[in-house]
Each structure stands twice: as structure tokens, then as C-alpha cells.
Amino acid sequence: MSDREAVLAAVRAALGAAPAPSPAQSAYRRKGEMDAAAAQARFLERLADYDVHVEVLDDVQAIAPTVARRMAERETVTLAIPADLPRAWIPENARVLADDALPYPALDTRPSVLTGCALAIAETGTVVLDAGAAQGRRALTLLPDHHLCVVFARQVVETVPEALQNLKAAVDAGRPLTFFSGPSATADIEFDRVVGVHGPRALDILLVRD
């Protein structure tokens, strides 16, 4: 008997003929109740609890100058981008590194990286990437030390269930998801919190009120 057959046989023997319990009704919230403005306010409030640098912008035109200023402040010179990033987001004088299957070491040379996102979750201060437009592949937002992420106000949902419902199509298409809520952190040494372990050590959220 193969291990597959052995495991399945053991599980079936363990369960016997007892009927499955009928599915319970879920009483938890599958939808939020906030309007868009309240959800955005909650998102910002949650971000304030993480070690995230937040910029609230009035329109798309403000993205490029903000990116330029943040790069100057963080003293980075190269801006890594996914190949399909809207041109209008890119500062004029930036040294751009468009990710076209670049080898990993090229991304590991401490550039900043600029991307969009799939959506954001107000209740938890989370941003989700789903390998869709303006997000690039996962390595691109992982190896650089400074991630600038553009979130449009309309991309903010209130609750975790709404987010997962919206992400189902990407998953069905086989695309990977990355959720991030603040930069990486550890409390492994004497339970002292240290921010910035292996992922980007600095995270900027650019919330665009469009």
C-alpha cells in the first residue's frame, strides 16, 4: 500500500460512518460598514501604529515629486520599478532600473523600489500585492531596502473578508499574494522589538486621494 492509500485509509477508518456536521452559519462580519472616507481614515490610523512613513497625496501628479523627495531623504539613487509602472509616477531625474527578469544581485544593491498594489485593508493597516498591474514580481518588492508603495484611496477596503473576496480572481489565475503590514520585525531576542529584518527595512505608503 502506498503512503497515499495508507493515510487516506487511516483517515477514513478514523472517521467511520458518522455524518458530517451541518455547516454552521457564520455570524462574523463579511462586509464593513464604513463609508470610503471613514475607511481611509481608519487605514491611516492603523498605519500610524506601524513603523511606516505615510504621505497623503491629493492627486497622481504628486507621486513623482514625492518619490524624488523620499529618495533624497533616504539617500538612494536608483529606483527599481516593474516594467509596467505608469511613467507619470517616475521622477524625471531618477536613475531607473526597470525589472525585466533582472538577476537578484542587481536588485540587492540597495535601490528604492516603487510599485502600486492590489488593495489595502483599513482595519489592519495591510497592503496586498497580487502580481497584477504596476506591482512586478515578488522578488522586486523583497530585495530592495526601501519600498515606496502607491495606494489609491479607492483601493482601500474596510475588512479582511472583503479583501480576500476581492483577491479570489488573482488566486484563481495562479498569481501569488503578498500581504504586508508595516516593515518586517522581530522580537526574538529577549522580546525586544527590532524593526527591519529581511524584507525592505523602510516602507513608505503613498495614499493618493483621487
Partner: protein, 471 residues
């Protein structure tokens, strides 16, 4: 498995003041945070109900869901392997690593790989496993065992870790500051993440409907291992499957809030099969293997009174509220699963002969069940297992063990607090709806409590007060 019993191991921990200090700090901080962020959700109790119901329904038709998961992972380009026991899991994983000519592998989230004792098997095959979670790396470098599900190196202090890193990373310049040590770990692992072609991971959840696997983490080492290497091998207990995508919306709320006390953990990765082709490299593995491990789980499934053990999502919240864990420390459980969940899971996985003292490592105070995000009735299962230890006559355990333990305890004042906490149910038998009455004979006579009148009452009260204050 050492031949020592829980009280003997606990005895050692109680003398270790570093461990007690670190544990007290970690558990009280996490307790406060988890209480705050779970109370913050208006539907927290409804989420717990849903979590419990989903787990119960899933287990009731586990065979069907596993076959569905196999199908969906395969459809997405992955390969599913089945392992009836630890030996088979080791054979599969070592075989895959060898087939890729790996000289080293990187690892993330490895409670299940600890359970199957994968690292020694890899080493025996000439493959060096690198743990990449900071705490796991510390424990691995020190050749020790984890002491807490969530913060496995909580028994070590910064200067011990500093000395370890200076030596093993060849960095004599390093200070003992946690920030410096963390940066050193980042630098040390960077090249390994980029160059190592094979990664091994555990999994928090796997969704049968879509074939997606979920890893929840804080440090980003998971993202590295799950994104960069060409080959990814993930191992999960068969109980980790969730039938539908929709179920994740419950567990991605329950787990971080119950575990670290965060609204959401820093990073969650969810991937579905492989990312094939040159242009998708760097978006996930080109080759993905999922190992489904039984290793005693189907036996737990068969014992209906203990089946809910398999609901566990390894959040570690029960450890942080357990008075026995806080005094005894994780090493007393002699397992990668510690605390209340360890006291019910380990003896069922390793066998009551090998770990039959663990179900007695509890006062049945019920704090674990009160906070468990999936409402596992741990005290009921403890009582059930105690009954089995006695009924099935395991290796002289039962009352004999209890009395031997009592002797040791009363000879050593340091163990007294532990003994008292273990005897709390007897001291206040009405505290938890008469659960104590359900101890089967001859255990109905067991409890260190019957010697309580001989104890100085003040110290008990003082201890009791401290414990209450720290909750």
C-alpha cells in the same frame, strides 16, 4: 525522548532565572496585546465560533478535502507527496533535495520539520540545513531545543546570543544589542537566500479549493524562502487543510490577533502551485512539492474525545496564559509543542508511553480554553488523556508518577509554586464546573492538593495574588 518526566525537567527550568525573567516579559507583553486586539473586533467571538466550526467540519470529511487539495495543487503545477510517518517524510524531502544536488537548503517555519526530525536526516545526507527565522537560527546554532512556539529562543539572553553569533558568524566586532544582532543575521543570510536553490517550509494553511498555501510570518525570511529559490518543498500536517478560500478570511483574522497580538502579522505569503518560465522566476518557485504528513494525526482523529486537538492553529496563546508553562518553561515539555497544546498534542503524537506525564502537567484551570481562538477544550482532553494513561496502564504512570512527582516537589522549595499551580484545581474544585470530578479512578485521588493543609498558607496566597496581578 528522554526518560525524564515533566516534573524532573520542570525542576531544572525553575532554577533558571534568565528563562523565568524572559518568559515573564514575553508572556505578559503578548497577553496584554492579544487581549487588546481581540477585544477590539466586535465580532471576535463570532470569528472564534466560525474557526471552530470550520475546523470541525473539515476534519469530519478530511479525506475528501485532502484529495481535493491534491488535485488543486497538482493542477497548479505542484507535486503532492503523502507521508504516513516521520520516516517517510524524511525520505521524501531528503530525496528531493539530493535529486537537486543541494549541498545546503534554507528553511522557514519548521515546527513540522522539527517533529519529523528532518535536520539530522539532511545532515546525514551531507546537506546543511540553514534555519532562517532568527530564533530558530539561534536555537540551531546553539544546538538547543525551542522553548516557545512563537519565540523559540526566549530562554537565551542577548549576551549568550552575541557570543554565539561572534563565534559562528566569525564577527568578533558584534555587540550584544538586539538591533546589531538582527542586522548581523540579515547580512549572514542574504547570500544564502539569493544563492540557495532549494527551500523547505512549513505551512499555516492550505486551501483545497484553489491549491493555495499560506505562510504567516514577521521577519521576511519566509518571503525570501518562498520567493527566490527554484525549488520549494513545503510540509504540512494533514489537519492544516481548509476546504474553501473563504475560510481564510476567518483564520487570517484569528491567527495574528491570538498569536502575536497584532492586527495583522507583518508578512503573509500565499502561493498557488508554481510560477513557471524564465520571466516568472522571482515570483515563486519553478518547482513546488507539498508533503502531507499524517504521523499520528489519523489516530488523534479516531479518538473522538481528543479530535479537537487537531483544530490547533499554533498561535501559542494558550502558552502565554498557562500558569504551569510560565513556571516550568518550554523545555519541560521536551517537545517542539509546549504548554497546554503540547500537553495534549505531544503525548498523542509520541505515544502515551513516551510522553504520558504531560497530561498531568496542568491544573485544569481552564485559562487555555478560555483564550483559544478555535475553542479547543484542552482541560477536557487532558482529563481524557489522563484516563487513558491509567486505563491503558502506560509505563507505571498515573498515580505512581504523581506521587513520585510530589516527593520531588516537596523536597525542593523552588518547585513549590509549580506544584501549587498544578494542584490548583484540587484546591478550588468548584472553580471549573466540577471538572475535577471527572478524573477517572485511581486518579480521582491524585492531586498534590491533598497535602495542601501541610503547606504554609501565606506563601500560597502570596503566590496566588502575584499570579492574578500578572494576568
Amino acid at each position: 525522548m528522554t526518560a525524564e518526566t515533566f516534573p524532573q525537567r520542570a525542576h531544572r527550568s525553575l532554577r533558571d532565572s534568565q528563562l523565568r525573567r524572559n518568559l515573564a516579559k514575553a508572556t505578559s507583553t503578548i497577553r496584554t496585546k492579544t487581549a487588546k486586539v481581540s477585544a477590539e473586533l466586535p465580532d471576535w467571538e463570532a470569528l472564534r465560533d466560525a474557526g471552530q466550526a470550520i475546523k470541525r467540519e473539515t476534519l469530519a470529511e478530511l479525506d475528501r478535502h485532502l484529495v481535493a487539495l491534491e488535485e488543486s495543487v497538482t493542477r497548479a503545477g505542484g507535486v503532492v507527496h503523502w507521508a504516513a510517518d516521520a520516516a517517510e517524510a524524511r525520505r521524501i524531502i531528503v530525496g528531493l533535495a539530493k535529486a537537486h544536488g543541494a549541498e545546503q537548503v534554507i528553511k522557514i517555519k519548521s515546527m513540522t520539520t522539527d517533529e519529523v526530525e528532518l535536520n539530522p536526516a539532511l545532515e546525514a545526507a551531507g546537506i546543511r540545513p540553514f534555519e532562517t527565522d532568527l530564533a530558530d537560527m539561534i536555537v540551531q546554532m546553539a544546538h538547543e531545543k525551542p522553548s516557545h512556539l512563537l519565540v523559540p529562543a526566549i530562554h537565551k539572553n542577548r549576551s549568550e546570543i552575541g557570543a554565539l553569533f561572534r563565534d559562528q558568524m566569525d564577527r568578533p566586532d558584534l555587540s550584544d544589542q538586539p538591533g546589531d544582532l538582527t542586522r548581523a543575521a540579515r547580512a549572514y543570510l542574504r547570500d544564502k537566500f539569493i544563492e540557495t536553490p532549494v527551500a523547505i517550509s512549513g505551512a499555516n494553511f492550505a486551501v483545497a479549493e484553489t491549491g493555495s498555501v499560506v505562510v504567516v510570518e514577521s521577519e521576511g525570511n519566509g518571503r525570501m524562502c518562498l520567493t527566490l529559490p527554484k525549488v520549494l518543498i513545503s510540509i504540512m500536517g494533514i489537519e492544516k487543510v481548509l476546504p474553501e478560500w473563504e475560510h481564510l478570511e476567518v483564520f487570517l483574522q484569528l491567527l495574528p490577533r491570538a498569536s502575536t497580538g497584532e492586527r495583522m502579522n507583518p508578512y503573509t505569503s500565499i502561493w498557488t502551485g508554481t510560477q513557471a518560465g524564465e520571466r516568472r522566476a522571482g515570483d515563486g518557485p519553478g518547482e513546488f512539492h507539498l508533503v502531507l504528513l499524517d504521523n499520528g494525526r489519523s489516530k488523534i482523529l479516531a479518538d473522538e474525545a481528543a479530535r479537537a486537538t487537531l483544530h490547533c492553529i499554533r498561535c501559542s496563546r494558550c502558552l502565554n496564559v498557562c500558569p504551569v508553562y510560565q513556571r516550568a518553561g518550554g523545555h519541560a515539555y521536551d517537545s517542539m509543542y509546549q504548554g497546554p497544546i503540547g500537553a495534549i498534542l505531544t503525548p498523542q503524537l509520541k505515544g502515551l508511553d513516551a510522553a504520558g506525564s504531560l497530561p498531568f502537567a496542568s491544573s485544569l484551570c481552564g485559562a487555555c480554553q478560555e483564550v483559544c481562538p478555535v475553542r479547543i477544550p484542552i482541560p477536557d482532553i487532558l482529563v481524557h488523556l489522563r484516563g487513558r494513561v491509567v486505563r491503558e496502564g502506560h509505563a507505571g504512570l498515573g498515580e505512581g508518577l504523581a506521587m513520585k512527582a510530589a516527593g520531588t516537589l516537596f523536597d525542593h522549595p523552588a518547585l513549590m509554586a509549580l506544584a501549587l499551580s498544578m494542584g490548583r484545581a484540587a484546591q478550588a474544585p468548584l472553580a471549573r464546573d466540577g471538572r475535577i470530578e471527572r478524573l477517572p479512578p485511581p486518579l480521582d485521588g491524585w492531586s498534590l492538593g491533598r497535602d495542601f493543609p501541610a503547606l504554609p498558607k501565606e506563601s500560597f496566597r502570596a503566590w496566588w495574588k502575584r499570579r492574578k496581578a500578572s494576568r
